[in-house]
């Protein structure tokens, strides 16, 4: 009655989980991220004449589609508000304390969110002028800008 089930060997099966899709960014984010690769920051003209950066495909107030009227902005800009991160997470762009800030780039009417790399909290203020520190190898991502830095330190 009694029999022993013998496992001849442990079977292994390797799987690679991946999403092998190619995503098209569309005409607006495509322009914006390609611009970053080329060290240029692109905004878009809104229906009311103001300039939006990051650019959107539609008027943020009305949802109406925008013409592809791109405007180069920045690269310098002004900090409109900021948050001092004392303990960066693994997902943050810098591994030491830094500020997240909303930065209104010159020529834009809205602000872009990015990191500002200064040594300590007392080195950043609202209204401070900043400029991007570009990554040497840029591939068309928002992180092609490592961080913004105070204008005078560039």
């Amino acid at each position: 009655m009694c029999s022993t089930f013998v496992v001849p060997s442990v079977r292994h099966s390797s799987h690679v989980i991946e999403f092998p899709y190619t995503r098209s960014l569309g005409p607006v984010y495509g322009e914006f991220l390609t611009g970053l690769r080329d060290q240029r920051i692109i905004g878009i003209r809104n229906r009311d004449g103001s300039v939006l950066c990051p650019p959107t495909e539609w008027d943020p107030k009305t949802g109406e589609a925008l013409a592809l009227d791109f405007v180069e902005v920045g690269p310098e800009g002004t900090v409109t508000t900021w948050a001092w991160v004392t303990k960066p997470t693994r997902k943050h762009p810098l591994d030491h304390p830094f500020a997240f800030a909303l930065i209104q780039l010159d020529g834009a009417d809205t602000a872009i969110l990015h990191a500002v790399d200064v040594a300590s909290m007392d080195k950043i203020t609202t209204g401070m002028r900043v400029t991007p520190r570009w990554r040497k190898e840029r591939i068309g991502l928002i992180t092609d800008i490592e961080a913004f830095v105070p204008l005078e330190s560039k």
Partner: protein
């Protein structure tokens, strides 16, 4: 719109780290809400749940929560990947059709096992924001700094909000953080994400909340003190935080107006103040008078079960009317980054 009433509610305590699974801690909450409404489970015509698979770290995790509902014989149910307050809104819309008279709605979340600072950036724009890992505290701190710069709130006022909520939470057996805290001592704490200190953030909580809704005839038949939903509205602002004026909450303002907040005096408001500075933004957006008591439960700063914290505002506001003698209350729920989305409801007793 047909008047819909809250005829029952139940909440679990907020735990820093629940030992039970989400379906396990949901089970008594749902059963108690049904008992509280003095109905039988089979009388429920529609069930709607709010939860977030990202918190569970598992696709379709929300299906397991139906174990706590009982789905045999087959039931009519739906789920929103949002706070239970949005499940309540869906059921409110469903009841307008008039073919069913009772709905069960609930929200639940077990957020303690995950790392919320790293999970939450996934809800943001995947090209401009998620790659920067912008966490909820950083988003909130950007708003707090904008308010401080504009002279609309001070760090002392933020500490006062925290101290008041924690004091009020001493009377709430479901609260997680409560006690008598001195605002000077709070202000002496170091910054976590400046200008926010740890206490300006909500606690990490596991928990659940269930509410039973009924049409007017059904509510009158089974409930001594129905709490009527006189108005409810939900508005969303643009996603990019740099395209909004962070010193105001235009979505709350519009939702409040559409819900009828200003049509009569308000006794009490349960607002989704997850970060201390948000109270001042929401008070202004809703036009609340100085004497309106905000968050007598201690609010989200004392108990923050994600995906149940918004629907808990409905339960707490209904509790104020059904048990504490208030006549007109506001329930508010929020979603997204830095108060991007807001839902406002006006609740009234008879």
């Amino acid at each position: 719109m047909a008047d819909i009433a809250i005829i029952g509610y139940s909440q679990s305590p907020s735990w820093r780290e629940a030992e039970l699974t989400e379906p396990q801690f949901l089970f008594p909450v749902i059963s108690e809400a049904i008992d509280h409404a003095k109905i039988e489970r089979r009388e429920i015509g529609f069930t709607c749940a709010g939860s977030c698979d990202y918190l569970s770290g598992q696709t379709f995790a929300f299906v397991m929560n139906l174990e706590a509902v009982g789905a045999w014989p087959p039931i009519s149910e739906s789920h929103v990947e949002m706070d239970g307050a949005w499940a309540l809104y869906e059921a409110w819309v469903r009841l307008q059709a008039g073919d069913i008279d009772t709905a069960l709605v609930f929200g639940s979340g077990k957020s303690s096992p995950g790392n919320l600072s790293e999970i939450y950036p996934l809800q943001l724009d995947p090209y401009t924001l998620t790659p920067l890992g912008v966490d909820p505290a950083s988003m909130a701190a950007l708003q707090a700094r904008a308010l401080i710069d504009a002279g609309l709130v001070t760090e002392r006022e933020m500490a006062q909000v925290v101290a008041r909520n924690r004091r009020d939470a001493m009377n709430n057996p479901r609260a997680q953080v409560s006690g008598d805290f001195d605002e000077d001592a709070l202000l002496a704490e170091p910054y976590l994400t400046a200008p926010l200190r740890k206490h300006d953030l909500p606690p990490i909580s596991d928990g659940a909340c269930a509410v039973i809704l009924a049409t007017a005839d059904k509510a009158r038949a089974v409930c001594e003190r129905p709490v009527w939903i006189r108005g409810i509205d939900h508005r969303i602002e643009v996603h990019q935080p740099g395209m909004r004026d962070l010193t105001v909450s235009s979505s709350t303002q519009i939702a409040g107006k559409n819900a009828g907040v200003g049509n009569a005096p308000v006794d009490v408001a349960e607002l989704c103040v997850s970060f201390s500075h948000e109270e001042s933004v929401l008070r202004r957006a809703l036009g609340l008078a100085e004497n309106v008591k905000v968050n007598p439960s201690g609010g989200p700063l004392s108990a923050n079960p994600l995906m149940a914290v918004g629907i808990s505002r409905f339960a707490e506001a209904a509790r104020q009317i059904a048990e504490q003698g208030a006549h007109r209350a506001i329930a508010h729920a929020s979603s997204g980054q830095a108060l991007q989305q807001n839902m406002v409801a006006v609740l009234e007793g008879d």
